[in-house]
Amino acid sequence: MATPLKRVRGLGAAHEGTETFWRQRLTAMANIPLVIFLVLSIVSHIGASYADVRAYLANPIVAVLMLALIISAAIHMRIGLREIIEDYVHGEGCKVLALVATTFFAGLIAIASTLAIVKISLGS
């Protein structure tokens, strides 16, 4: 039942609406400058020494941008990968397993990368 309050909130019987769509767009917008930053970071550090790479990542501005990228990209990739699975994996069991694996994958990337950047920033 769509009560007037639900209609105002834009929610129907599914109890959720455009959150995923909006989150995908929000992270997409954040990813535009952050991906440019990542591409330049990669290409400018090809074959760089350990000391150079470590000093680069220890820079607070670089660390903040890298953390922002990883969080935004992990959310964005989880949404996108789920969309691919929902469209192409038809067996119910396989689908659920793949969706769970996707969340674990995105979570693992976010946590491991964040820990690495924090470690590098704190010099430990």
Binding site: I42, M77, I84
Partner: protein, 134 residues
């Protein structure tokens, strides 16, 4: 029983029935590059974790990315990132309701392909020039 039902149901045309169109290929490319970016982020995580561990761990990762396969993967990752980013900008424009006419979608498609390749090559040439050769 289910097989019989499936056989009698009217089926929508399969993908291979359609003549491949550029816009259709771009839609598929957006998904493939999105998936590729996820794989690339796993490589990025490996790189970051290795740096946080120490010089020995970094040497292993650096040897991989310094190899021919590593370099090719890195090049493809940067192209995939740029292609997906440009494709994403196209989607954000479409979200506003603009650029959905037949001419614009073709122009957007070609612009995405050409500029993603040109930008990636330019960035790599500049990167190698900066590092003093490959």
């Amino acid at each position: 029983m289910t097989n019989k039902l499936e056989a009698e149901r009217p089926l929508s045309p399969h993908l291979q029935i359609y003549r491949p169109m550029l816009t259709m290929m771009m839609s598929i490319a957006h998904r493939i590059t999105g998936f590729g970016n996820a794989v690339g982020f796993a490589l990025l995580t490996w790189w970051l974790v290795a740096i946080s561990i120490g010089p020995d761990a970094y040497a292993t990762v650096d040897a991989f990315f310094g190899s021919l396969i590593g370099r090719v993967l890195l090049f493809l990752f940067t192209w995939s990132l740029i292609h997906h980013m440009l494709g994403g900008i196209r989607h954000l424009i479409w979200d506003t309701g603009h650029g959905l006419d037949k001419v614009s979608i073709e122009v957007f498609a070609w612009a995405t392909i050409i500029s993603s390749v040109v930008l990636t090559v330019l960035i790599w040439v500049a990167g190698y020039a900066l590092m003093g050769g490959p």
